[in-house]
């Protein structure tokens, strides 16, 4: 196997390197990809079309919003899949009973770690919300903010114990919120279908939202980004919680 892998890798690498001679040099603004009418349209017209200054957000949530919906579904599938593969159904029932019993936050953790996390977690969550909400004007958006928010719960679990984190965001609530995120996303699309547009055509939502058509696009993007944020936050936490405890949510990292 090793020899086969080495030969394959060398041959494939040589072929790929050979083909790279055709590529334009790095940083060439006139390369086919960078100078293509579609790429130029994204740069030149996005602000007119959507009033969103962060081009990545606009392309992500509007021009290619359909991709992004399925990307959110991929995250959802990962969470469901992990639970299906290693989740222990009986542990869930036990756990529901146990959650009621209160335990002091992080009794068995180191003081310094605990205090640091106490300071960091709220700031992190606030920052995550900012990243989601301000994704139109600065780097950020539903994924980035969602990952940060999810990370804040992971941090909580690492410092204060998983049970503590689960008490704040239980697994079933996580899945509900994750599903809700996708419903929010697809709901915007269905709404635009109901109003006579194509799926995810934010322009027809103009009738429901304040501002002009471009503003309607901007607002709709905010809604779908929030949906993405819900799903990513909760699923990342669920992935961590299950992998850290072999799916029983009890004893773990």
């Amino acid at each position: 196997m090793k020899a086969f892998a080495s030969i394959l890798v060398v041959v494939l690498g040589a072929v790929l390197l050979h083909a790279s001679k055709d590529f334009p040099l790095l940083g060439d603004a006139m390369s086919p990809a960078n100078n293509h009418p579609v790429a130029r349209h994204y740069i030149e017209e996005t602000v007119n079309d959507t009033h969103v200054r962060n081009l990545v957000t606009a392309v992500l949530a509007d021009y290619r919003g359909y991709d992004t919906m399925f990307e959110t579904v991929v995250v959802f599938v990962a969470g469901i899949g992990i639970l299906a593969v290693i989740g222990v159904p009986t542990a869930r029932i036990r756990q529901n009973e146990n959650l009621g019993s209160t335990r002091q936050f992080g009794v068995d953790s180191d003081l310094i770690i605990l205090q640091t996390c106490r300071l960091i977690v709220p700031v992190l969550q606030l920052f995550a919300l900012y990243v989601i909400a301000h994704g139109h004007h600065s780097p950020g958006g539903g994924f980035q903010g969602g990952v940060l928010f999810g990370a804040s719960y992971i941090l909580l679990a690492l410092s204060g114990g998983l049970r503590e984190a689960l008490r704040r965001l239980s697994e079933s609530l996580s899945f509900r919120l994750a599903a809700f995120g996708i419903v929010l996303y697809a709901g915007v699309g269905l709404l635009s279908m109901a109003l006579g547009g194509n799926f995810l055509d934010y322009a027809v939502l103009d009738r429901l939202l304040p501002g002009d058509v471009a503003m309607a696009r901007s607002h709709s993007m905010l809604i779908v980004e929030a949906g993405v944020g819900f799903t990513v936050t909760t699923i990342l936490f669920v992935i961590y919680a299950n992998l850290a405890t072999r799916g029983n949510l009890e004893d773990g990292l």
Partner: protein, 515 residues
């Protein structure tokens, strides 16, 4: 409103799955009604789409997602959003996918509580999302959107396999590694194309490639084509890369196996056809590249190896899995023979192979369930003990061998015709030999079934990973319905060969822009 209906094929199962996650995480009883409801609507929407296309004389439905029309003609007329494109063949495949999933749900209903106790809702969610991924791949006209949907269907497949018993996890892990290599190769190929072309819309890429002789001659486009093909072959278990398939489908929960075996590899073949015909274009592939001898040769090896490996198996499911490997060889070879009969044959074979594989897997599942035996010995006296399942199995087997009036005969006919017209005699020979091997294989089983001694199932002649004894049951009535439907479908797709071939031909003519 009616132009929105094709999208319902995706949206209804998606919302069904998400709705289960939202409302029914602790209510296993809700799983099957939602699956039936969502897939039922999806089947109706797919049939509506097909009828509409047929009514309009084989038109192509285009749908701009997010309402972004193409740029105006003066600004190059390129697509800035994501686009769907459904021709008659795609619509047929959509009907096939949703219908197979719906009929398989009948079998699933009987097994879900046994094989995935406590995880019914999760299973149902994954099941519906797999259908979404597969349907989406068939109709999308965007190379990157294809990748995202490919990953949805892959991740759901991994989970649907890994949910099974002990060995399933290892099989699924191998599938993940192979599948990720395949998807990454595809992504890299698309990246190479994007570097040179600058767009992701399949039609637009094709246009640029057709227009520029320089690009057509460049090494990077050739490498892109190679990587995309290699990625798709990994995903469809083309022979030297088939290692993941037998174990994955064998150790998966049986409803997963009978859903994925007919659909996943076949949808990858559909994607390969789309890439060949719509993305690169046949004249690029066959005039510029000249890879035909190599690939048809590989396909011949795949056909022979798959058939012979199937012959060597003692385990019923493993045998059927290797038959899939051989069938993939049929289809890759037929596509790369490169003439109209060959490609029509491949498109037709996708439909017929899905029907017969489904029929065989479902029948095998019923037989294994009834006898508790997963080796060929299960067939002793099968005609008396399990007449319905055995009859369906016979129909599927006749189709695999290629006897009329089953669909396998007609699709093989087109493939043979394609091979003969192109003068690819080794492909023709491989097809015929493989049919003979299939005949030996199945008549051996019929011999056991007709003349084998009936015995009470022995005390567990089985390996530890097979179904536990307490799950042996009579074949549930709903499964019998499924078996009958599958067997009828095998014959119906065969009898309808003229209209189906006609529609496929029309669809191919429509998309053969440069041909």
């Amino acid at each position: 409103m009616s132009e929105q209906i094709p999208l319902l094929i995706l949206l209804v199962p998606l919302l069904g799955a998400v709705g289960l996650g939202l409302f029914a995480l602790r209510r296993p009883a809700a799983a099957m009604p939602v699956v039936f409801g969502a897939l039922g609507i999806a089947v109706l929407a797919a049939i509506h789409t097909l009828l509409r296309i047929v009514d309009e004389g084989g038109s192509v439905i285009t749908y701009n997602l997010a309402g972004w029309d193409r740029l105006p003609e003066r600004a190059s007329g390129k697509a800035i959003g994501i686009e769907y494109k459904i021709d008659a063949f795609n619509a047929l495949v959509l009907v096939l996918i949703t219908a197979v999933a719906l009929v398989n749900a009948l079998y699933l209903r009987a097994r879900i509580a046994v094989e995935c106790a406590g995880k019914e809702i999760l299973y149902a969610v994954l099941y519906l999302l797999l259908v979404v991924g597969l349907c989406g791949m068939v109709i999308t006209n965007d190379a990157f959107n294809l990748y995202v949907l490919l990953e949805i269907s892959s991740l759901t497949s991994y989970a649907l396999i890994g949910i099974g018993r002990r060995r399933a996890a290892h099989a699924s892990f191998n599938y993940i590694i192979t599948g990720t290599i395949g998807a990454s190769f595809y992504l890299l190929g698309v990246g190479y194309l994007y570097m040179q072309v600058g767009t992701l819309n399949i039609g637009d890429i094709h246009e640029v490639l057709t227009a520029s002789a320089e690009l057509r001659a460049s090494a990077s486009v050739k490498v892109a084509c190679m990587m995309i093909m290699a990625g798709l072959w990994l995903k469809m278990a083309m022979f030297p890369m088939h290692g993941w398939l037998p174990n994955a489908y064998r150790y998966a929960p049986s409803p997963s196996g009978s859903l994925m075996a007919p659909l996943v590899t076949k949808v990858m073949v559909v994607v390969m056809l789309r890439v060949m015909v719509n993305l690169f274009g046949l004249d690029y592939l066959f005039a510029e590249l000249n890879w035909r001898p190599v690939i048809v040769g590989l396909a011949c090896v795949a056909i022979l190896a798959g058939s012979l490996l199937a012959l060597a198996q003692r385990d019923l499911r493993a045998m059927l899995c290797y038959l899939i490997v051989a069938e993939v060889g049929y289809m890759v070879g037929g596509a790369w023979v490169g003439n109209e009969a060959g490609i029509t044959g491949v498109a037709y074979h996708v439909l017929s192979d899905a029907c017969m594989t489904f029929c065989l897997f479902l029948a095998a599942a019923a037989i294994i369930l009834r006898t508790g035996e997963h080796r060929l010995g299960a067939f002793r006296g099968a005609f008396q003990r399990i007449p319905v399942a055995m009859t369906a199995f016979t129909v599927g087997a006749f189709s695999m061998i290629g006897l009329p009036p089953t669909c396998g005969f007609f699709s093989k006919w087109y493939l043979l015709q394609g091979g003969i017209e192109a003068g690819q005699w080794h492909y023709v020979a491989a097809l015929l030999i493989s049919s003979l091997v299939n005949a030996v294989l199945f008549f051996r089983i019929f011999e056991i079934a007709l003349f084998g001694k009936i015995e009470v199932p022995e005390t567990g002649v089985r390996d530890v990973d097979a179904l536990p004894r307490d799950t042996w049951e009579r074949v549930p009535a709903a499964t019998k319905v499924g078996l009958v439907v599958a067997a009828i479908a095998v014959i119906a797709v065969g009898l309808l060969n003229r209209p189906i071939a006609l529609w496929i031909g029309k669809a191919l003519n429509f998309i053969e822009v440069a041909g």
